[in-house]
Point group: none
Chain length 199, copies 4
DNA sequence: CATGAATGAGTGTTCATTCAT
DNA sequence: TATGAATGAACACTCATTCAT
């Protein structure tokens, strides 16, 4: 009988804790969230949290790790949804997927890319998938350059500029929710299209 | 009574408090700054701060107001530094000035546009200058469309897209200071140039 | 109107706190005494203690400082109670006073000389009077040697040996209160007399 | 079931626990050691310790018992190392052995004779060997008096005074490690010699 | 205007301990 | 025998805030 059947195994509880913490961290800010608040949200005593995580920081780290993994997965999926040869489509899809990730997981995006919550030691574990995400974008940029879809020859310049553009639209939409934006999809598309076009 | 009339009038003290708070907010983060820390920095007792500001939020509001004013001033200056007829140059200059403001005042930019620290009631007073800043960009976009430098006809679409791009590069550079960016000015220029080009 | 008249001026409160802490530290051990317990004993809220002392350690430091001062004063008094020329009497009186200090202030003696509660930084302030106490003993030992009452010529050897003896009887009487000691004064006297005699 | 019979019987585990606790008590102080820390050191879960010891106090009692036994053994050895007739040598040897025990086991000496960690109920079991130690000293004192090496006739007075002297030097050396002591052996010898001489 | 005294709530975290397994 | 889950009490300390002066 594997431990799956128990009803509340360790990973379940850990996930519940991280989920609760994610919402709280975003709504109230990491420093304004207490272990007691997290515990209350999951229905445990505050001290019991320490049976699953060493401290508050460790909850955050798990959260970031999960977020980066989900983020990278989203980009990969978008890339693989198109023919390997069709770099143009792939690049566009990845850029769209990036923004889409932010729009559909504003909590994660905020903590990962806007608040950039990383203690020095977090980087080691978590940055990995973040960097992989950027590398994926970078490699596609180089391919696009090689295939002539982009005139600019410096792949780093291209990929960093593209990142700036998609991060810009994503973070603005998340941060200024009540701003009178024009129709969202149209705006996103225009940023990406004119960005690609102009290079 | 010379002292009373000169050295310690109310606005002087309020300014001293805001100045101290500004530094602390930026160095340690808004949530990690307590009234007592601010008080200690200005050399007053903690309780005395309450004679000038109701609470931390009120200090922040003053700070934001100042920041937005400085922000708007920067954009205006850039615009006025060029011939009124040369919309192309003006638009480019304003975009550059936006990023420049962020780079040279990362503290303000962070609070104004990244953290977006605004209580509901702040908007009434403070948003004014922020909105004026965006309108300035919007008007120039419209002029540029009218003069044919930009093909896209929807001025809102253009201005919001441009904002996304410049906010993107500005906030990334501020937030991910240790990322291996290519040469900063080159990157900024490329984002703006290809953005304008693509529209 | 000097601040004396107020009823509860600052020094009064500080003393009350230190007094309460002294008893608690001794009875329950420094680490088992909480700020709450101290506060409860003086009738204040726990947090108010922090208006008078930076932290728990600082209370202890004040306590040690007071204790060492009282200790030194006791030795000096004993010395000055006898003719300056009569070194023999002075030395004996000081040795007796040392033990007497321990017997009448077992709490202080325990914290100062048995538990030896000194953080690294405490020493700077507090050790001063402790050292002066030992120097007083040392100087008298040298005088006694010079006047021929003690045959051993090494004053350091003499003073440290004497200290060992009086500390021995003092600390034993304090630490093992329920041991079947013979009559206390007789024992103390015998230790001191045979110690002096044997040198 | 070989494992059950050999590797993990109760006394083995108990000893492992006491050993771990001993080190911790001495390094970090009794009050700063928690059951979980002890458990961590032996590699068991915290709760499991409760299967072997009711609480921390019970662990301490075992430790004290061991310490007293070792102490008594040291004194006996010293006594038996000399001719039974040579009381003078025996007494001196025992006094030296006492100090030597303290110097070489400062951890034990501290818990047994300085901190005197004994709950009321411990005495019944543990004091036994401590008392035997004192009796050994007492008997030798009486013998010395009978043989004329010591003039004072009250054996209790003599033995308690001697104990005071050797406890004094031992505890001072342990407690004030950083005091500028003169050469240790010379000091110890002088305390014992002049003590014996003076009686 | 400015202060010190005072407090209750809250912080992250540790602890001893119980309970079901 | 041994464990992990869970808890309530406690810790030193910080905080915003009130009050009398």
């Amino acid at each position: 009988m594997p431990e799956q059947n128990k009803g509340t195994n360790e990973s379940d509880v850990k996930r519940k804790i991280v989920d609760a913490a994610t919402q709280l961290f975003l709504n109230e800010g990491y420093e304004n969230v207490s272990m007691r608040k997290i515990a209350a949200k999951v229905g445990y005593s505050a001290t019991n949290i320490y049976n699953y995580f060493e401290n508050k920081q460790e909850i955050l780290e798990q959260l970031l790790k999960d977020g980066y993994a989900l983020f990278l997965e989203s980009l990969k999926e978008a890339k693989n949804a198109h023919n390997q040869q069709d770099v143009k489509q792939q690049l566009r899809a990845v850029l769209m997927a990036y923004v889409h990730f932010g729009i559909t997981h504003p909590d994660y995006y905020h903590l990962l890319f806007i608040k950039n919550m990383e203690g020095p030691e977090t980087i080691v574990f978590a940055e990995s998938d973040k960097v992989k995400g950027f590398l994926l974008l970078h490699d596609l940029s180089r391919d696009a350059i090689n295939q002539g879809f982009i005139k600019e020859k410096d792949a780093l310049l291209v990929s960093q500029s593209l990142w700036a553009m998609i991060h810009g639209i994503t973070s603005l939409l998340i941060t200024f929710k009540s701003f009178p934006w024009i129709e969202q999809q149209k705006l996103i598309k225009h940023v990406i299209d004119s960005g690609l076009e102009g290079m």
